[in-house]
C-alpha cells in the first residue's frame, strides 16, 4: 500500500493540503507521511470521531490558550523511535539518546497534565514519571542530561579527585576510571529503561496522532471542511469544492462554484463543453475521497461517502511519457487496472477522464462504451467524463456550461468563468454538447481558423 508521502506527488491538491497543515512535531510529520489509507470502517470511524472531538476543542474560544500551549509542547516532541529501538534490542544508549528519552518523557508528562481536564477518547497517555525519575536523579525537571555524580558515590569521589589532580597523567588515569564507571551506569540505565519500551512507544504514537489531529482540525477550520459520514449505498456530496482552486480564485476576488454530485455503484457519465470544469470535478472528487480515507474532514458542505479499498484514477497529467509510454497506452493500462481490481472483488472508486480520447473517434467511442458496460456489470462506483456522443449509460449528467447567453455578450478568456455554470443537470439524450468551436472563439483563436472550422462542422 502506498503512503501519504507517495500520494502527495500523485494526487492533485493533496500537496496543497499537506503544505497547509500546521504540524508541530517531527514525530507527527513522520507518522502522517508514513500513514496509509483507512480501508476499515471501524478504524476510520474512530479516527473521524477523534478528529471531531479535537475540532470542537480547538473551535472553542476558551481553549485558545491551552491549544497554543499544547502546540508549543508538541513542538518539542521529536521522533525518538530510533532511541527506543536501541533500548528494545538491549543496546547501551549513549548520552544523546538518554537525553532524548528524558526530554520526551518530560514533554509527554507536560501534555498529560495539559489535557487532563479534557476527555479525549483517542489521546490517552501513559504516566512516564518513573522514567523521568530514573534519568533525573537531581530531580530538577529540566530537560538536560549527563551521567550525574548522583548515580554513584564512587564516581562522585573520582571526579572530585580528578579536579584536584596534580599531573596530567594522574588526571588522565582518573578520567579513564570515571569513563569505566560511566559506561556501567549507562548500561544499567538502559536496562532499567527497557521495562518502559512499550509505554514510550505508545506515548510517542499517541503524541504524533495528537499533533496530526490538531493540524487536521485547524486545517478543517481554516478551509471550512465538513465531517464526513460513512455510507454504503451511494456517495453524496452537497457543495463540493476544491480547497486549492478556491483559495486561488478567492485571491483574485472570484468565487469557486461548489457542486452537488452523487456517485453510485455503477458509472455515471458526465458530458459538458470544454472549459466547463469536468476535469476539476473529477480531481476534486478524487482529492475528497483521499482526504476522507486519510482521516481528514472533506471539502464540502455535506458528505456521505462510501469507503473503498482502492481509489483508481485516469485523469491526465501523467508523467508516463517519460517512461516511454504513449498517452493511449497509459490510459489502457489504467483502465485495465480498474477492471482487474473490480474483477478481484475489491471495492473501488474509479474516476476516468475522457477515456479513449487519443485514438480515432469510431474506435474511441466503442472503447468508451465498453468501459461503461463492464463497469456497470462489475458494479464499480465510478464517474466517467466524455465528449463522445452515443455512449450508453444508466445515469448521465451534463455540466450546464454557457447557457442562455445572448450572442452580443462579450465573453473572453478573462471573464469566461463568470458566464460558466458549473452545476450538473441530469440528461437523457445521447448527444454530447457541441461547443468546442464557440469556446475556441472565446479563447481568442485566429478568425480564419474559426471560420474554416465552422464551415467544416456545417458540412457534417
Amino acid at each position: 500500500m502506498k503512503s501519504f508521502r507517495k500520494y502527495i506527488s500523485e494526487i492533485a491538491g493533496l500537496r496543497f493540503v499537506y503544505e497547509n497543515l500546521e504540524l508541530n512535531s517531527s514525530a507527527g510529520r513522520k507518522k502522517l507521511l508514513k500513514s496509509q489509507l483507512f480501508t476499515k470502517e471501524f478504524e476510520l470511524t474512530v479516527n473521524i470521531q477523534a478528529l471531531s472531538e479535537i475540532y470542537d476543542f480547538i473551535q472553542d474560544k476558551k481553549n485558545k490558550k491551552i491549544v497554543s500551549d499544547i502546540c508549543t509542547t508538541l513542538n518539542q516532541v521529536n521522533d525518538i523511535s530510533a532511541s527506543i529501538n536501541n533500548i528494545r534490542f538491549n543496546r547501551v544508549s549513549d548520552d544523546i539518546e538518554l537525553f532524548e528519552i528524558k526530554k520526551f518523557c518530560i514533554n509527554s508528562q507536560k501534555i498529560l497534565k495539559q489535557i487532563s481536564p479534557f476527555d479525549f477518547s483517542l489521546i490517552l497517555l501513559h504516566d512516564l514519571s518513573e522514567v523521568i525519575t530514573i534519568l533525573d536523579p537531581q530531580n530538577t525537571g529540566i530537560p538536560a542530561f549527563y551521567i550525574y555524580s548522583d548515580y554513584s558515590p564512587e564516581l562522585a569521589q573520582l571526579r572530585k579527585e580528578k579536579d584536584k589532580a596534580k599531573t596530567p597523567e594522574e588526571a588522565e588515569n582518573l578520567r579513564l576510571k570515571c569513563v569505566e564507571i560511566e559506561d556501567k551506569i549507562r548500561e544499567n540505565l538502559s536496562k532499567q529503561l527497557a521495562n518502559y519500551v512499550n509505554k514510550l512507544e505508545y506515548n510517542l504514537n499517541r503524541l504524533a496522532d495528537f499533533d496530526i489531529l490538531i493540524a487536521k482540525a485547524k486545517f478543517a477550520v481554516k478551509f471550512r471542511l465538513t465531517e464526513p459520514k460513512i455510507t454504503k449505498e451511494k456517495t453524496i456530496y452537497k457543495g463540493l469544492f476544491n480547497p486549492q482552486i478556491k483559495t486561488i480564485l478567492e485571491s483574485q476576488n472570484k468565487n469557486f462554484q461548489a457542486i452537488d454530485i452523487e456517485i453510485f455503484p455503477f458509472p455515471t457519465l458526465i458530458t459538458g463543453a470544454n472549459m466547463s470544469g469536468k476535469s476539476v470535478l473529477l480531481k476534486t472528487v478524487a482529492l475528497s475521497q483521499f482526504m476522507f480515507q486519510f482521516g481528514f474532514f472533506v471539502p464540502t458542505q455535506n458528505a456521505e461517502i462510501i469507503l473503498v479499498e482502492e481509489i483508481l484514477l485516469n485523469i491526465g497529467d501523467n508523467q508516463d511519457e517519460l517512461n516511454g509510454l504513449s498517452s493511449f497506452a497509459v490510459e489502457i493500462l489504467n483502465i485495465n487496472k480498474i477492471i482487474s481490481h473490480a474483477k478481484s472483488g475489491k471495492k473501488i472508486l474509479a474516476l476516468i477522464d475522457e477515456p479513449a480520447r487519443t485514438t480515432n473517434p469510431d474506435e474511441g467511442k466503442a472503447i468508451a462504451n465498453a468501459i461503461v458496460e463492464i463497469l456497470t456489470e462489475l458494479k464499480v462506483n465510478s464517474l466517467i467524463c466524455t465528449h463522445y456522443s452515443g455512449i450508453k449509460a444508466n445515469k448521465k449528467l451534463r455540466v450546464k456550461g454557457l447557457q442562455n447567453i445572448s450572442d452580443n455578450e462579450n465573453i473572453n478568456i478573462e471573464n469566461i468563468n463568470d458566464f460558466m455554470d458549473y452545476s450538473l443537470i441530469q440528461v437523457d439524450e445521447e448527444k454530447a454538447p457541441a461547443e468546442a468551436i464557440r469556446i475556441a472563439e472565446i479563447l481568442g483563436a485566429d478568425k480564419d481558423f474559426i471560420e474554416k472550422a465552422k464551415k467544416e462542422v456545417n458540412n457534417i
Partner: protein, 336 residues
Amino acid sequence: MPFLKEILKYKSLSIIGTEKNTGKTECLNYIIQSLKNSNKTIAITSIGIDGESVDAVTETPKPEIEIYKNNIFLSSEKHFLQKQITAEILDVSEKQTSLGRLITARAMDTGKLIFSGPPDTKWLKEEIQNSQKYGVDLFLVDGALSRKSTASPSVTESMILTTGAALSANIPTLVKKTKFICDLIELPVFETNLTNELLQIKNGLWAIDSDNIIHDLDIKSTLLLDKAKDKLYSKGCVIFASGIITNNILEFMRIQKNIKETILIVKDFTKIFVSQEKYNSFTKAGGKIMVLLKPNLISICVNPWSPRGIVLDSQKLREELFKAINLPIYDIKALD
C-alpha cells in the same frame, strides 16, 4: 587583559583570520581562559569543522580549544561523542549537519575539545538567539577561512581579526593586505531610514533616488550587469547591491561619467569580493562604497609565526600595523 572589557560590551563575537594559521584559535583560547573566573556565561561554537588537532590545510599542529566548567558549547554529534570531558546535554537539534545533529551542552569539567558547529550562518544565527535561554552573556564564534560571513554584523555583534606571518612574510605587504581588509570592515554606514527594508531584499540591484524611494533596477545580479548597462543609472547614482559585489561592477562604474556621485551600498563587508587594486581605482576615481551594517571591530591580533617557519619581529609588526590601522593590536603570545 587588555580587550576583555571591550568584548563584554557585546553579546556575540566572531574571530576571523586573514589567513589560516594567523592565531585564531589561540585568540579564542585566550578569551575563554581570561573569562573563566568572570561569572559570565560563555557559549562557544565554530562555523563548520574546527578544533582538529592537526590543521587540515597545512597539516601543522594546531592548538585545541580548551573549555572550562560551565562553558556552553555547540558541536556536532560526531565530535560530541568523541569528547573527553564530562558535559551535560542541553539540547539536540532536529536538523542534521554533515557530522550528525548539533548538540548544545554545558561543560562539567575542564578540558580540550574538538568541535564542529552549525554549517551555515542562518543556523548559527538561530543558535545565538536560542542560547539566550541558557543565560549566555557572550557567544563566541570561531569563524573559518573563507567563511567571513560569520562575522557579518547581522550574525555577531562584534569581531576580532587575526593576521600574521601566514598572510605574508614581508611586513609592509602584510600591513598593506591587512589594512585593506580593515578598510572594508570599517566602511562607513549609509545612514537611512530604509535600512530594514533594504536588508530584506534578497536579490538584484536597486536604486535609491533623491526622494528616498527604492527602485528595482531589474538587474538580477551584478554578474549580469553586461546585459543591463543602460538600466544601472536610470534612477540616480545611489545603487544598492543586495547580494555580493565583485570587481566587474566597480570596473563598470569607474569608467562612467557620474562616478564622482556614485555611492554603491552593500549589506555589510562580508558581501564584498573585490581585489585591492580594483577597489583602489574605484575610490580614486571618486566612487564610494558604503554599508548598511558595520561590525564592531574590537581589535587585531597578530601571530608573527608562520607554519613555514618564518618568525617576524612582533614588536615591529604591531607598530607598523597600528600606524596603518589605528586600532588596538595584540600579540596573544607576547601578552603573558
